[in-house]
């Protein structure tokens, strides 16, 4: 356990989250006294102020779990926790000249971490989020087809198929090739062996018959 962890966990024994993995701060007993941890942290920060990159790197590493615990204690959760940790590290770096080596390190760190945690929570609260509003959900107009739309289409297809099936063979042939398969008159003429004129006549008669059949069936269904 690092000095920062020892100092923090001994000062704030309740704060480390219950969800900590084995081997983490919460699961380890605090062996160092707060004063020794504080003093070492103050020494490390003083070395960092003098440009000791090794001490500084170790200090920042030690600070990461401590900041995380402080932010969680403030109520920060999820991905925002990482943002708070990194914002706090950046602020430590920018504000390292404001640290007074004759004073304890943790209150200085805690003030920064708490402020960044509050910033993160404000930032999160301004972002749009999912809300529980069952009435709005129920009354929202659906952009899709209305209920029963598929049934209606299926019934209409069935009616057209039946009406086509009841046509005389010549008319049915003309409808199937020209309207349903979308062939040209020449292609339909080659396939059926009929003249184009005969096909046209049969096609128009078939349309007339279908119109009559479908309109009568619709009137019947409306009634």
């Amino acid at each position: 356990m690092s000095l920062a962890q020892a100092a923090y966990s001994s000062r704030f024994p309740v704060l480390p989250a219950r969800s900590e993995a084995p081997g983490s701060i919460a699961s380890m007993p605090a062996r160092s006294t707060p004063s020794s941890g504080e003093a070492s942290l103050a020494t490390a920060m003083q070395a960092a102020q003098n440009g000791d990159a090794v001490a500084y790197r170790q200090l920042l590493r030690d600070c990461v779990p401590v900041i995380s615990a402080m932010a969680r204690a403030k109520g920060v959760q999820g991905p925002s926790l990482d943002d708070v940790v990194q914002d706090t590290l950046l602020t430590i770096h920018r504000a390292r000249a404001s640290y007074d080596p004759s004073r304890p390190f943790l209150p200085w760190l805690r003030a920064i971490a708490h402020r960044r945690a509050i910033d993160a929570m404000r930032y999160d609260s301004r972002r749009p989020r999912e809300v529980h509003d069952p009435i709005a959900y129920e009354t929202r107009a659906d952009d899709g087809p209305p209920p029963g739309h598929d049934l209606e289409i299926r019934a209409r297809c069935r009616a057209v198929t039946e009406a086509v099936a009841h046509l005389p063979p010549g008319q049915r042939e003309a409808i199937e090739h020209i309207a349903l398969r979308e062939l040209s008159l020449e292609e339909a003429s080659v396939l059926t062996g009929r003249t184009k004129t005969a096909l046209k006549v049969n096609f128009h008669r078939a349309l007339k018959a279908l119109r009559a059949a479908l309109s009568s069936s619709k009137e019947g269904s409306d009634v």
Binding site: Q49, A53, R57, D83, Q86, L89, S98, D100, P107
Partner: protein, 230 residues
Amino acid sequence: MSDPASHERLVEELARSLAPVRPLPGPGWRAVAWFSAVLALAILLLPLSDAASLQLRLGVPDLRYAALGAILTSMAAAFAAFQSSVPGRSRAWALLPIPPLVVWLGVSGLGCLRAWLAPASNLAETGEMRGCFVFLMGVSLPLSILLVTMLRRACPLNPSLTAALGGLAVAAAAAALLVPFHPHDATATDLAVHLVAVFIVVGLNGLLGGRIIEGAPRRRPAATASQADP
């Protein structure tokens, strides 16, 4: 949910860019340094003042105590501003300027009664009051710039509060510096002009100074972005 790799990258980046820094002097010393600049400005301006009328006015208790209140308010507000610029210091320091502020404004308010108490008082004219206002603003600007620059060197976690306290220090210092040049005795309109100037200086410092002090925006989406990276 934690992303140790991105934290480690940031730690490495910060450690690589580490440069030695000299710890800032304590808030008290920095307040003294700023107030020394105010005194230097006062010494520069003193030859331009009317020493005889200054002596006469300082003989009147309420004018003397009002000047003393402005000086104390400026010192207390400057000290509180520097305290609030250091992480971990108590926010209760922000209340420090209130007692001298009450004294300053309260005693200045007694000037409102001057016309009744001393009918021969030299009352302010509109042109003179405009001059007072311009003087207050003109002195406040360089003092504000100096103070905000000094405050920015620390790490104000509540920039608007720090800047507002700095604005109060500047406004009170400007009011104290005005005393040797004040061409008339205090009146209600005079007090109102001073109050307007104080509110403008404090408000502008709070709004603009807070943003200046806060400095560059933080790297908010850093962790989120690094999490999104494959």
